[in-house]
Amino acid sequence: MLELKHDLRLAKTRDEHARMNFVSGLRAYVLNDMATGMRASYDAEVEPAFRRKARRAPKDGPEVHQAIRSNEFFKFYSSLRVTAQDMVWQSVFPPLERQRESLKKKAKALATRRPGKLKLDAQLEVPRSVSALDVHLMPGNYDGEYESEDLAAGSLYDNGLAVFSFGLMGQNLDDIGESISRFIKARYPKFKPAEILDLGCTIGHNTGSWKDTYPSAHVRGIDVAAPCLRYAHARAQAQNRAVDFEQMNATALKYVDASFDVVFSSMFLHEVPRKDIAKVLAEAYRVLKPGGLMLHMELPPNAQLSPYDAFYLDWDSSYNNEPYYKPFRDLVPQRLCRQAGFKSTNYVQFVVPSIAWFGEQAVTRAVAAQGAVDSDKTGRLSDGLQWYCFGAWK
């Protein structure tokens, strides 16, 4: 399993470490080997049975899902994946519970170290889509607080993500931010953003990469969950990154019009109820300067995937407490951007190779050869992954 590199990482006993290694390995097996096996089982049994009955192939993800539900391989894949997901968080609780006090002390000491600022808003109402749900089956979710000044939820997420990602999200879990910001810099060498905003940033793991890519920029991350922001602030300080974090809802930004050159988000829109997605994009449009770029890293839309791959990604929506994930992926990004006020001709969409997997050169190559969504690799956490993003220039 991946070792966190910063000072807030939890100390683990030999056995705790071994359990985390096991869960990482189990996830790699389920998401690579078993996913391949399930596809083979689908091709050999499920799809032909569907064709015999319906005299056609399944037309979309939900039809594939319905057809595969009774398949034994699907049941083992799914049950093991849920078990592994549960074990990710369970593997972190014992060392975290033991170190909550020392973690708080470390964070407090780090708070004054660098110029990064933290601004919380005790009056902010955490939306029900966060406060009423354990997304990713993570007990307590992003906003769970168990004492004053709590940041344990942030530590649970950071250390859990290290187990969860089995190395596929980069050495500092910042592969998305790193790959995409480097790609933008290579693709638009004349674009020099001075103000960058990351929406729904949680622990800021993908916010800091923008500071690395554009060192002179003022980089800010916002989220509704205070424990994650406290942790994000301390984490950035520990990594010597001058990034500001503010507690704010992306549907109602407190910034004046035309404040930012880049409004970014990663894996965020699919956690937002449909009715609020339009508000988030409209707010992004409002706070962008003319000539600024809105960019959302997301799972690819269903319309750009084969029925099987649509089903495969939608698994999370049905079984990983992600109720807004499929509704988001059923939307058409071009239309969303247009409705938010962006010109159709200013729409952009990229498939960016993961730096952690392919190396830095691959990003430069991708700029030259811009490809379409590779149906079974894009956005899927398995070997050879690529990140999908869409947005528009204002």
Binding site: R14, S79, D134, G140, N141, Y146, Y319
Partner: protein, 114 residues
């Protein structure tokens, strides 16, 4: 820093976890098996750590454990314990080994292509 209000973190999933088999007990047993496997792995890592530390300190040479052959008396004792271990592992099946009626025999399932 006050910790008067400190609560233990909640460890259960709100709304529970999804189940996939006809009987949720199957999912639960699978969870138990995997948890057990995780503990077995933790033990293996521990043994490997002990072997490495032992080799480093000169308690034995690297590879000595792998090359080690048990003396006949110990081998015999272990063989007995191994069979007990196996019998214990499949005890749950043994309970159903003598049904009054013959259980409905199923044709072996077609081998899945991988």
């Amino acid at each position: 820093m006050t910790s008067k209000d400190k609560q233990p973190m909640r460890r259960n999933i709100r709304g529970g976890r999804p189940y996939f088999f006809a009987d949720p007990a199957t999912d639960k047993v699978l969870n138990m098996v995997v948890t057990l496997a995780s503990e077995v792995w933790a033990l293996r890592e521990r043994v490997m750590a002990m072997e490495a530390i032992g080799a480093k300190r000169g308690a034995f040479k690297a590879g000595e454990v792998d090359a080690y052959e048990f003396p006949p008396a110990l081998e015999q004792r272990m063989a007995g314990e191994r069979q007990e271990f196996i019998a214990n592992l499949f005890r749950v099946l043994g309970e159903q080994a003598e049904p009054k009626k013959t259980a409905t025999a199923k044709k072996p399932a077609k081998k899945k292509k991988r």
